[in-house]
């Protein structure tokens, strides 16, 4: 028995087996329970140690040889797998409430397994190939064969596909830089190609225009899942790159580039969000700003930045899950997601409206909500190294607040005599309610997730020290 078989091959095979199932509730429950089991196993079952079950003795090896290369899941990566599969279970349990379980659960599980494979593959730069395969699977996940594809999905496919050659080429060039560290030209060339690859993958400014388009034209719940899983795995992959190459870790220009891109994404994401009249596009720019926060965390001293980066992950997962589920429910009940069509919806779908507002406020970093602790720590650490950076982060955060309050104002602008009625069904209300409670728990008791997060930096040999 080995870890890649349990956490990569088994979910992939299970996802294929789920495909013929046509019952939303069964799919949602089976997918959710299965991923919870994977998360629990990742957190509690020890790897590379003998595990005694009565008379049986099991040992989970960490590697699997496949076509001359290896998939390796180290014991230190257990909490990350628990986080990924735990967050995936949130989406799967919510899939029935969003009425998207039929395609979402099997394809989502397959995408998740591929993203885990991208973290596990050795040599690690082959991760780009697994990410590209996941991207190709994501196309049927967010589009329907019965509806013409929009420009957003085409751009998504192009940008994400172009990332793969850049990453693989940069891997080759970086090996050359390691061999001859004095070759500054080669270092600059490899850094440029690497930067371009990650700019495509993480949708760094200005390559993020597909995100708002996709949220206009595709189901918000599935797009939300994609906006969570792709950047999360890509960021872990990116940190692996930084950890592996010492010249990259110690380069001041690289830190400046990361900080500049993070601030650009945060400021533009926030400002664009503040001027949108479409609640889907506001979520899109919110997720762009989230990636900006993550890049900013990476630009800090690794002893501070890496724990903050991991602290951002659970809040992002929960925030986007609640946000996209609330959007899906509101979209069902209105003609479109434009402000003119969702005006006063708080009285028609109060729980979804509250979920939307709270998830958006959490992304902005509103106190008491999930996003707050990580943003506060990030702002504090950033202000210690760059006041200009802290100022622009403030601009981004204030703009996100403006977008959230504008959205809240529009949702609550009902006719004077309109009554309150909760039109969400019990399952939608339950999932949103649990999500909202989760956002408060993450905000009030951030140490609750330290159980998962405390050991995560140890998965990086240099950055985690």
């Amino acid at each position: 028995m080995n870890a890649p078989t349990i956490w990569i091959l088994t979910p992939a095979i299970f996802a294929i087996l789920l495909m013929p199932l046509r019952n939303q509730r069964a799919l949602s429950l089976i997918g959710g329970v299965f991923t919870v089991l994977l998360a629990v196993a990742a957190q509690f079952v020890p790897m590379e140690q003998a595990l005694r079950l009565g008379t049986l003795s099991l040992r989970i090896e960490s590697s699997l040889n496949i076509l001359g290369r290896q998939l390796v899941i180290n014991p230190q990566e257990g909490p990350l797998l628990a986080l990924i599969y735990g967050a995936t279970s949130l989406w799967f349990f919510g899939a029935e409430a969003s009425k998207s379980a039929l395609r979402f659960v099997p394809l989502g599980l397959l995408v998740t397994a591929l993203m885990v494979a991208s973290i596990a593959v050795e040599p690690f730069l082959f991760a780009a190939l697994f990410i590209e395969t996941a991207v190709l699977l994501a196309v049927p996940l967010v589009t329907s064969i019965d509806k013409p594809p929009g420009k957003g999905i085409i751009r998504f496919l192009i940008y994400q596909t172009l990332a793969m050659p850049c990453i693989l080429t940069s891997g080759w060039l970086l090996a050359g830089v390691e061999a001859s560290p004095g070759n500054l030209t080669l270092a600059a060339q490899s850094a440029a190609v690497l930067g371009l690859g990650f700019a495509f993958l993480l949708a760094v400014f200005p390559l993020y225009n597909w995100i708002p388009m996709l949220l206009e034209e595709s189901p918000p719940f599935t797009v939300g899942f994609l906006l969570w899983i792709l950047p999360t795995a890509t960021l872990v992959f990116g940190v692996g790159f930084i950890d592996r190459y010492s010249w990259l870790r110690t380069s001041p220009q690289f830190v400046t580039a990361l900080r500049f891109s993070g601030l650009l994404m945060l400021a533009t994401g926030g400002l664009w969000a503040a001027f949108q009249n479409h609640i889907g596009r506001i979520m899109a720019y919110g997720s762009i700003a989230e990636t900006g926060f993550a890049l900013l965390a990476l630009s800090l001293d690794s002893r501070v930045g890496i724990p903050i980066l991991f602290l951002l992950f659970p809040a992002r997962a929960l925030g986007l899950a609640v946000w996209s589920l609330a959007l899906t429910i509101l979209k069902e009940r209105s003609k479109s997601m434009r402000f003119s069509d969702v005006r006063g919806m708080l009285r028609i779908a109060p729980i979804a409206g509250a979920g939307l507002a709270l998830a958006s406020l959490s992304t902005s970093g509103f106190p008491l909500l999930g996003g707050f602790p990580a943003r506060l720590a990030l702002w504090d650490a950033l202000a210690r190294v760059s006041l200009t950076g802290a100022f622009w982060m403030g601009v981004g955060v204030i703009s996100l607040f403006a977008a959230s309050f504008r959205m809240l104002a529009v949702l609550s602008m009902a006719d004077e005599y309109a009554g309150w009625e909760a039109n969400e069904n019990w399952l939608q209300a339950l999932m949103l309610g649990l999500g909202i409670i989760g956002l408060f728990i993450l905000g009030l008791f951030p140490q609750a997730v330290q159980f998962f997060l405390a050991d995560l930096p140890a998965m990086f040999e240099h950055l985690g020290q």
């Binding site: 082959f126 190939l129 049927p140 594809p149 192009i158 050659p165 080759w172 060039l173």
Partner: protein, 198 residues
Amino acid sequence: MTPFLSQIVILLLVATSTGILLARKWRWLIAFLSAQYAGVFLLALQHLPLGMATVKVIAGWMGAAILGMTHSSLEEERPETLPQGRFFRLVAAGIVLLIAGTGAPFVDSLMANAGMIVSAGGMLLIGMGLIHLGVTDQPLRVTIGLMTVLAGFEVLYAAVENSILVAALLATITLGLALTGSYLMIASAKEENQAETI
């Protein structure tokens, strides 16, 4: 590869990639794409064993077949309006050709002396694919553009990496792209059918 054969391969790639850029009929697109993969095979053969180079051409031909079969089942032959501005495309192709020719020595040195022909061929395909992606948003053409870029990359990458896993994953991605393109073409056809009904 003899100098004569090298010139033939480059000429083949110039003809097929320019043909893809200029072709109006989808049948020509598929034919050019298939011929292009024959050129990719010959270039990949410079650094890969026969079996692994064959995987690339078979994956490419299967991808072309998937796209062709999907398109043929979707609609009857009708006058194509795209591509417009053939002269512009021809000029753009000329510029890419110029860049590939002049940039090949640089890429050659960067990619572990892959060989001038391999570098020029790879650059040419990547450039032509990018031009194609820049001028269209039709699923068939976007897919072919992406396959062209990836084919160019595969030619170059074969010089530095000959792992079986990478070859298998790249072949999977080529096929996956073709399947995704087919999926998007089928979905696009719904729009056209709806528009005709209205």
